[in-house]
């Protein structure tokens, strides 16, 4: 029985932890499908986390926080778009520049505004996205199996978690079922074909960057106003890069990417659970080693998936009209 409780708890935290990962991975997917490599997910996430926490702290509303987070993230996405599209710069360099800039700017501003040594004030529950109970959760609680799955596991997450899962079919629908999605996927494969079909490559790529910005903004907001209760220095802790790895593992497709995110989130949840647990024979695993786990798994997964076979063909390559 304890084992089942463990599994349930583990699954519960997996779902919770996965939300920002899923949103960020979808952001990376939108960008790369349009031909722009976005290694700046990490920075956008952190910036959005800061923006959302600050706005929520000042206004007391998580919604205004979410809006602010998205706004900040979209601005950075457009900056990355400008460098990648107009300046035809190196997209990896630009993404890293944004990551580093944000790592400095967020605590600088936090310190100037709140004087808390680079953090934002702790948000009370009114200013956060807190757990919501799904309909009938209470009624079904005592029903065997269904109760455990529905009331304990599925119900009681924050709005951002539900939103993250909802975005997967939404993005998949946009990409595969709409005219816009067709064009977006085309521009990541062969921008020249799109250009000669009379569609603006520039415009499409900016639109993709805005989508990536919005999703990343949601991801960062989830981090600071749903999972956490305020902004802490470097709180994204490599999640942007994990999201990118999940997208590669998911072969640039929404549903497999979701599964990859769940795997990463599960490992993260597991690492939390393993702390302080004593194992037969080996005893207690030092906390530093359990912390390594998600990063090690990422490397192993990347090692197992050779290269760029499924990557959109034009991703990372600036489009020059006249060659």
């Amino acid at each position: 029985m304890e084992f089942i409780t463990d599994i349930l708890l583990l699954s519960d935290s997996t779902l919770r932890i996965s939300a920002p990962l899923i949103l960020a991975a979808l952001a990376g997917l939108c960008a790369e499908r349009a031909g722009i490599v976005d290694i700046g997910l990490e920075g956008k996430m952190l910036a959005a986390a800061f923006g959302a926490a600050s706005a929520a702290a000042v206004t007391g509303s998580p919604w205004i926080g979410l809006f602010a987070g998205i706004l900040v993230s979209v601005m950075l996405a457009l900056l990355h778009g400008y460098v990648s599209i107009h300046q035809r710069g190196n997209q990896i360099v630009s993404g890293m520049a944004i990551n580093i800039m944000v790592a400095g700017l967020a605590p600088t501003l936090a310190n100037a505004w709140f004087s808390l040594g680079g953090q934002t004030p702790l948000l009370d529950n009114g200013a956060r996205f807190t757990a919501i109970d799904l309909p009938f959760a209470e009624a079904l609680e005592d029903v065997p199996v269904v109760g455990a799955l529905y009331s304990d596991l599925l119900s009681g997450h924050s709005l951002m978690t539900y939103l993250a899962f909802a975005m997967v079919p939404v993005i998949a629908w946009i990409l595969y079922k709409t005219r816009f999605g067709l064009r977006l996927r085309a521009v990541g494969e062969n921008p020249e074909a799109v250009d000669t079909a009379g569609i603006s490559v520039t415009m499409l790529r900016y639109q993709a960057m805005v989508m990536a910005g919005v999703l990343c903004g949601m991801s960062g907001s989830a981090l600071s106003t749903a999972l956490g209760a305020g902004f802490i220095r470097d709180m994204s802790a490599g999640k942007g890069f994990l999201a990118l790895a999940a997208m590669i593992f998911g072969r640039w497709k929404p549903v497999p990417t979701l599964l990859a995110c769940l795997l990463f989130a599960f490992v993260d949840a597991l690492q939390g659970r393993l702390q302080g647990v004593s194992f037969p024979l080996i005893g207690e695993i030092p906390v530093q080693f359990t912390i390594m786990l998600p990063y090690v798994i990422t490397v192993v997964i990347l090692a197992g998936f050779a290269g760029k076979m499924d990557a959109p063909r034009a991703s990372g390559i600036p489009y020059e009209k006249d060659r």
């Binding site: 595969y176 709409t178 999605g181 067709l182 494969e189 062969n190 074909a193 000669t196 079909a197 009379g198």
Partner: protein, 518 residues
């Protein structure tokens, strides 16, 4: 009543910096006709086309479409005026289906499901009218080159094109596919479409056009009815003064094979079988031409001969010593030392490093020679000397080895590459696309050089997509199709029809007078 021409230009000019790419070009293309435009590479054909479909804007002059003065600021405006272009390099998204490619940019509906239903209905009509038979739900990557071209044409018709510009449409086709294309062009014409047929091959002009315009150095030289001209007259107009070949083929005697390829199979980068059981010999004092539609194993053949790819079965021997087999592998550097030089088929992709100076490119592949490096250190003075020598011997211009190689013209790049590869007097030369992207003046020189090397007793294997080129320089022509060697034809018995059938895979047995491949 006179119908206004489909396209008319008056004194169209386009300059790039100080270069006049188009100089007062005047053109008349009548409704419902097939109009040919001929000219050498670099004559200004593509600049003209790009202005006609809105990719470039002219500096001066008029463009008149269906009697109306017009100026296009983008390809979509040209499209709206009924002008569509079928590019030499197809503008298709390979992982997408045919249908998705056709509707891209002309979906009409926000939702793909509805757009595809509408499109299918419209395409059914077009297919019946023009006799297309293309699987709409197949990904484009599964189609043959000829089919892809048809997708491009269908794409244009779907968008309501009345005038189609075909840019070098036969460059990638087998002779038989060319015939099918000509059929289609005639059918399109009979249904009232206007065709602008751009090529540098004169027999195509004679075969398919009604009227023809010859362009040279950015200017219109001749405009005439096709029926009242001859290939000779067009050739003279196209080239200007007649360029004659300075070097003729001398008699050479066949000795022992220099390179012997025995039952070789090889696997491509994508993991499928690129060469299957290929066997042939390459002798001293001959040019063995290799023909085939692009992507039928030519690239892999070049690679297994130059140490860039291991064979999976069979063996390659150089003067009797195995250099490439399942258990023997010789790297490119060792092969160069053994006298096998390699002119890469795609110069900018692998033959040179575009951003590096011409000097540094002059030793690429030979950087480990004792002349150029010793004990791991580069010998800069010797490298400089070599680069200067190459510039001198091949007349590479401008004479500045400091410039990045990318800033030289294609012809000058290729001259430097050839100088580099023949500097060590190799006995064997493996050459891919000797004149791709090379201006006309340099083409003749390169062909002469190949013949001189042959006359001097070297063994040369030349892969080319240009059948005319192979006919001009080869002693024998080998044909690859689908990774198999269809056969080898001596030049005295080679003609376009035979080679064309072989390129399409017709077994050698049905072709007369062909040496059987083993």
């Amino acid at each position: 009543m006179h119908v206004a021409p489909a396209i008319e230009t008056r004194d169209l000019c386009k300059r790039f910096g100080d270069v006049k790419a188009n100089d007062n070009v005047s053109l008349v293309v009548e409704q419902g006709s097939v109009h040919g435009i001929v000219g050498e590479n670099g004559a200004g054909k593509s600049t003209l086309l790009k202005m006609l479909f809105g990719f470039y804007q002219p500096n001066s002059g008029d463009l008149i479409v269906n009697g109306e003065h017009i100026s296009f600021s983008s390809p979509s405006e040209a499209m709206a005026a009924g002008i569509a272009m079928v590019h030499q390099h197809f503008m298709l998204v390979e992982p997408f289906t045919v249908l998705e490619n056709i509707i891209l940019g002309a979906e009409g509906q926000g939702l793909l499901k509805h757009a595809e239903i509408d499109a299918k209905a419209k395409l059914k009509g077009l297919e019946q009218q023009f006799g297309f038979d293309i699987p709409l739900d197949e990904p484009v990557s599964h189609l043959s080159v000829g089919q892809r071209q048809r997708v491009e044409i269908l794409k244009a018709l779907f968008r309501g094109a009345e005038t189609l510009i075909l840019d070098e449409p036969t460059a990638v086709l087998t002779p038989q596919e060319c015939d099918q294309l000509f059929e289609l062009v005639r059918l399109l014409k009979s249904r009232g479409k206007t065709i602008l047929f751009v090529t540098h091959k004169l027999h195509e002009i004679m075969a398919v056009t009604d009227t023809v315009t010859v362009i040279r150095a950015g200017k219109v030289i001749v405009r005439t009815d096709t029926s009242s001209t001859s290939p000779e007259a067009l050739a003279e107009a196209m080239v200007g003064s007649k360029i004659s070949r300075a070097v003729t083929r001398a008699d050479t005697s066949k000795g022992t094979p220099r390179i012997s390829v025995q039952n070789v199979s090889a696997v491509s980068d994508h993991g499928h079988r690129a060469l299957q059981n290929v066997s042939f010999d390459l002798f001293d004092g001959e040019v063995l031409g290799v023909a085939g539609v692009a992507g039928n194993g030519q690239t892999e053949l070049l690679e297994i001969l130059t140490g860039l790819r291991r064979v999976s079965e069979g063996s390659v021997s150089l003067t009797g010593n195995v250099i490439n087999s399942a258990n023997v592998y010789t790297d490119p550097i060792a092969l160069r030392r053994a006298g096998v030089a390699h002119v890469a088929e795609d110069r900018l992709k692998s033959g040179v490093v575009a951003s590096m100076s011409a000097r540094e490119n002059a030793i690429l592949g030979y950087q480990r020679d004792a002349d150029f490096s010793r004990n791991g250190l580069m010998r800069l003075a010797a490298i400089d000397q070599a680069a200067n020598d190459y510039f001198e011997s091949q007349d590479v211009r401008p004479r500045n080895p400091d410039l990045p190689i990318a800033s030289f013209s294609g012809g000058n790049q290729q001259k430097l590459v050839i100088a580099r590869e023949i500097a060590r007097s190799p006995q064997t030369l493996i050459i891919g696309q000797p004149t791709r992207g090379v201006d006309i003046g340099a083409v003749t020189k390169i062909h002469d050089q190949i013949t001189e090397l042959r006359n001097a007793g070297k063994a040369l294997l030349v892969v080319s997509a240009d059948l005319d080129e192979l006919m001009a320089i080869s002693d024998r022509i080998a044909v690859l199709c689908d990774g198999k060697l269809v056969g080898i034809v001596p030049i005295s018995e080679a003609d376009e029809r035979t080679i064309g059938l072989m390129m399409a895979g017709s077994p050698a047995a049905t072709v007369d007078n062909v040496e059987q491949s083993q």
